[in-house]
Amino acid sequence: MIENSVLISTSSTLDTMRRLLTQLLENREVDSVFALRETRQEGRYCYSLITDPSLVSEVLPFHPVMPVQGARALSNLTITEPFDRPVAALLRPCEIRAFVENVKQSQGSLENIFIISCTCPGVIPASRLLGEERDEVLRNPDENIRNACRACTEFIPGAQADMTVIIASDKPLDGAVIYLHSERAVETAEKFDSCTLEKGPPPTELTSELLEARGKALKELLRDIPAPGDGLRSLVSLFSACIGCRGCREACPLCSCVLCDYETARTAHSPELVRAEAKRKGSLRVPSGTLQFQLGRLMHISPICTSCGQCSDVCPVDIPVSDIFIRAANLVQESLNYFPGRDTDDTPPLATFVEKELLDITD
């Protein structure tokens, strides 16, 4: 019985993870490792596909940054064909969920991916790691994580994870604690030296206080929805500084269209229309369509948004895009009774229906 099997090691989590990954590569249990590394420039990180065991020493497992949403990088790798040999991928819970959504939309494949995830303490906005405050910020990661992470209640990975490394927990741990969820994970752990295999309490028991704190933060975030009718003004204010860089879209793991609807001639406002509109109103912001783009993206993404916060992270003018998406996603997903990333077998919410549902919004 695999349930709640746990690998315990007295050495640090970082050390244990690196040894584990090295073993996986050296024993040819996997062909490659998908994980975070620091680049040659301090404070800048990237995901890498590593095949040489000696380079595992550079891996920073679950370092509190997300330079690229992992799902986006994995989708890039597997969009034309799945891996034909096993790869160990270190992914955060929101990255797994986003990737599951990618797979549903034929934007990637989970085949041959051995997923090592963690109880996620959150990540720090990339901009905070570029300046001089970096060391200070890294010393207190909990106080500096993204807004989205602060309000994340889904920090324990779902069924796709083969292993869960306990990173976030209510009480500090001595050494490494790794939960094993699959036969393969147990086999791997059995070959791993200097560790013990035990039965532990369910991971939820290690993080109940954290869940409570996160739940509270989420409630607060959701409370900030403007009253009906007050929203336009605040939306216009929020996006008045938008420079139209579309970084939010490009960084979003779920915005996977080759050509965004809002770059097409179909949705573009014609020159004649823009000029007529400007004449009618006396003044018009150009390029027009800032809110149209944001609303459109909300419409497309909110049903499957995994609330990772990447959109806010990349915004060069600090618009809290993810706060808006998290609010919308909560309402939308609740009404469609959909949980993004739970299972590849769940039908995407707009590709299915229930005969008797949503009766309150129609007449």
């Binding site: 990237c46 034909d84 139209g244 490009e250 400007a278």
Partner: protein, 352 residues
Amino acid sequence: MSNTESRKEINSILIDIVEKALGSGIIGSVMVPSRGPENSFPWTLISDVSALERAEPLPPVMSVHGAKALASFTQSPSDGRLLAVMRPCEARAAVELSKLEQINLDNIILLTMDCPGAVPLSEYGEDGTIEPDLHHPDTLRPLCRQCIEFTSKGDLCLAIHGGLSMVVPLTTRGDELLDSLGMKAESDTSAWKEWASGLGQEREITRTESTDNLQKAYNGLQGLIEAFSGCISCRSCRTVCPICYCRLCFIDMKDRRSPASEYLERSRNSGATRLMSDTLLFHIGRMAHMSLSCVSCGMCEDACPSDIPIGRLVSMVSDNTTELFDYNAGSNSEDPLPLNTFRLEELHEYED
């Protein structure tokens, strides 16, 4: 004159001109930045004089590039005459975009000014008090510090240096507008031109120094890899670039996708491969596509959330590529795009 006052002065003169032109019906509409909420300066297309109340023709920051804003509604010829108030680098990009058939300049008059430069978006931030100061380069965006095309672009230019405070016409179109506004005054512009050449020389030095430093810091392949190691593939540099106008960029095309096996192959070659891959291909590819028309406006660098000196790098490359064809982007609307023309006898050193 303090810098705040000078920007205020420029703004009030420009608004006066615009008001006069719009109010008298000489032009039908004007495109100009306006003060928005939260210290923002969105571009606005204005046809009602009363909306000029919020106009700020020379804001402290560059939010969206003026040529990009202009291109969003001028692909077909404008029905009435349109006056666009923009910085010199924006006017130059507008000329490039007209060559690329993204803007139809037929009914458009470009009014520029002696540009003091702009404050980096990230530093302007929430308080919104920093002023761009010509004499204190550290207040300016890196590309503005080394800008040598800071004046005399477009159809007319508001000159405020060298003892002037007047609009100087640069084309017949500009001449006509001034005429119809009854604003034409003979004046000696030699001191202004002297000021421009003086600052130009200073800026040339800064530019050379900056290029040298860049080349030292990011030399060769390893240097480039390092320069772009922080790239998160957000493509903001491309999206905010006035010259990158393609709806679908080459890098995003489906036929460029590679199978997982190819990435593994790459990883085996060196032990590890960086993801998202193709970072260098994207940036070098972009430079190849747009560097000939690059106006060194620095939008890309301002938008980069990873603080990569991308604007300076592209501008440096642009210096090299434009030199090949003796081309200066946006300076003359009659010069054909270098890649749309050729001479029989040229570039022999690149062939054998």
